[in-house]
């Protein structure tokens, strides 16, 4: 039983995409499924959010795109992490750490 899907927080989508690409190059559907998997089904990324984010991140230079063959010999667009993307992942990870710590603190406060 997967938990109820949750809508993504502002800024977390980039982090999740970068994180999922650590495993290697992937096409859009792959990334979407990978996010679902690593968040235990908490986040389901719709194409309407995924593709704009991918294209934006490509333009930022964090990921690069190329055409490749899918598992079923279908032409698909693959994405991979660039050097700048790896750095960005570190930045985003740190930021997220701070945010989640702060939120946890806030919720614990009596």
């Amino acid at each position: 039983m997967s938990p109820e899907p949750t809508s993504l927080l502002q800024g977390t989508l980039d982090l999740l995409i970068l994180k999922s690409l650590i495993a290697g190059e992937m096409h859009g559907l792959g990334i979407s499924r990978r996010i679902q998997q690593i968040t235990s089904g908490t986040f389901v990324v719709k194409p309407g959010s995924l593709f704009p984010a991918l294209h934006r991140m490509e333009e930022e230079g964090w990921i690069s795109a190329f055409w490749g063959e899918s598992e079923n010999n279908r032409r698909a667009k693959y994405y991979r992490l660039t050097k700048a993307g790896t750095k960005q992942l570190e930045v985003e990870t740190k930021r997220w750490g701070r945010v989640s710590w702060a939120i946890a603190q806030a919720l614990q406060a009596s």
Partner: protein
Amino acid sequence: MPLLVKARSFLRNFFSSRRVEADLDQEVHAHLEMLTEENIRAGMPPEEARRAARIELGGIEQVREQVREERLGNWLHSVLSDCRYGLRQLRKNPGATAVMVFTLALAIGATTAIFSVVYGVLLRPLPYPDANRIMAVFEVNSTGGRSHLADPNFDDFRDQNRSFQTIAKYNGYVVSVSGASQPTRTTVAHVSPDFLKVFGTQPVIGRDFSADDAKKGAGPTVLVSYGYWRQNLKSPQDLSQPHLKIDGAIYSVIGVLPAGFHFPADVDLWLPADLEGENKSRTSHNYNAVGRLRDGVSVEQANQDISAIARRIHETSSEQGDYLLKDGIVVPLQDSITGKARSGLLVLLGAVGFLLLVACANVANLLLAQASVRNRELAIRTALGAARARLIRQFLTEAFLLSLVGGGLGLLGAFWGVAGLVGLAPQNLPRLDNVSISIPVLVFAFLLSAAVATGLGAFTAVRATSGDVRLGLEEGGRGQAGSQGSQRVGRVIVAAQIAITLVLVVGAGLFGRSLMKVLEVNPGFRVDKIVTMDVALPWMEDPKAKAGQGIFFSNLIDRLKQIPGVRKVGAISGLPLEGDGLPDGMFVLITQNEVPKTMDGFGALFQPKERLGVADFGVATDGYFQVLGIPLIRGRIFDERDGPNSPHVAVISESLARERWPNQDPIGHTIEFGNMDGDLRLLTIVGIVGDTHEYGLDAPPRPTVYVNLFQRPRSAITLTMLSDADTRLVTSAARGILQDLNPEIPARFRTFSQVYSASLGSRRFNFILIGFFGITALLLATAGVFGVMAYSVSRRTREIGVRVALGAGSGDVLRMILSQGLRTIFIGVAIGIAGSLALTRTVESLLFGVTATDPLTFGGVTLLLVGAALLACFIPARRATKVDPMVALRYE
């Protein structure tokens, strides 16, 4: 590195957008296929799988649009599409678009042209390093006016001040110069040796004056302007050769000034001042002064400094009286050059600004009318999800297109307009050669267009997109689009237009009436059929040499009388209506045995105040009064009795007789006026002549003493010839005669009508321009009234049809439409009259013979404006009466 990636993405998005789009399309489709396959693997039937995949994707077109919005450079794409859309809109109404573009071009062009004059004359910094540190220094006289400096006063300013790095004096006058390619009448300046240092400039060839060049008795040296060096000296690199004969003395050329250096204006030669020693009088005001402030010293500080020195002189000087300075003043040089032109030019700028407002109002009305037709389109776009901001941007884009095209055309017009303005401008407008379409003027034109665009765009956008657009859909369906609201706004605009136009036309009326009043002034002399001839012999101090010049002029006059067609010939030291007029000074009523032997005893005469008088000092011949038709009131004018060795005589003007000798007969009185020409012989008053408006038709006549040229000769005079013959024949004959008598002396010829006409130059300039702006505004406002009324009638066709069907006669309809128009017109006129009363006060100093609230002008202009506006209402109103109820009810 990421920046590079971004730049590449931006360029790719922009230049190969088709490939980017195809790529995206393929990617999304591949995604859909993969989703479908996934679903099939999960065991769904193919049809079901495809449907589920589509649902998960959420619409191919939406996904693509979302990606597009994220793309770099998306804003540029949308701006371009706004522009394309805007152009299509503008093309849809070619007539209205042409009218709007033309109106804006006219207004922006006129504003730009006037601004280029204002910029070139008033704003553009003088072309010297740190020009804002250069100051003009004046004495302040007993009546509070600024006056030139006397030598000892200048010396005290120079030696005692703590505010100036350098301070120099200069003057300027026209002399005959020979020794170059041909004899010329050239304006020269006598300057103190630090003159160029004040301006931070140096000769480009040769050297500046040294202190030795200015010492008493030094060899005469001269600096020449770049233009003079090229044209008259033929550009020699070696300056040891050229010598110039100036005022009878030989000068060595020591330096050539840079091409841009023109100070004082029109001067081509600079000579050291006081080579024959300084004038010791503190009341002979012979020089202007300029200085460069020390670093850190403010104008205010310099002013206090100079003022303290001046007041000290005033308290301690032995030369008391009206001509001794009372105070001193320091003003930025630029202000002192342009001071007189400032108010007139600012009035013109204000007037053209009003024209611009009237023009914008017309365009705003046209845009509003179009916008109300577009209500439906706006409603549809809103229904399809366009945000209000997006619609406002669409309106702004269209306004920018209009204004930039209009502004561009206007700028082209301004190039032509500036040439016209420079040609039309009065000759005494300073720095006129600076006026051109320069970079700051271009920037101004662009900013002005942008401001107009923003104003118009924001206005129409806010008007058109306010309220509930769904109403637009409904109302549009009934063919009565957005009528009420936009028509009310249209009427407000028209009322404002009428108000502004009224102010402008009242201004034009006041300037026009002033010009007429000036022309009605009897100048006190004849203007037509007079040829004038300026001649300058070398300046002489020695009485014998001066007497020789008197004989020279006597011979010249005799020869000129022989020219066929020339009836009478005279001479005067300074023509009326020109330049600074005659010099003025103090005379003393004394008898023969009180006459001092030398000028040193002269100051002592100014003691008992009752014996003093003040007058202008003119040197003339009897012929002068005959040529100009200045009437003899009583006594006689000069004749053969008045030779150089007989008792010297004077003729005085009527106003002097009235003011100085009230209830007495001045004829027979003797006066001492030797401080004007150094000749201490008494003058016996022998006649009284009519007053003349020396200083311009709009200035009151000044009390004047005329002495006889043959008794009191001087070197520079203007000959006046009354002739029936062709001016060119007289001119060439006179030139030949002068050439014959002295080939080194050139002359300048003009007709007296030219002098007269030039003296009215600035009044004519103001009147023509403001009149032009006023008429243009009047036409625009009339068109505005017509447009709004015609639009209103066409919108109300159905209503009128119903009224007619219910029994309203054509008179009722006419009255209804006209009264609606009249209300708008009267509101506008009322505001306009109030505005005019407030604003015309600011131009009061430029008016003559009319008050700023002249009832005739106000009444006439109001009638004119109401008449024109009513006419503009009448045509649509007539059309309304022709409405056929059957047709009207079927309308649309």
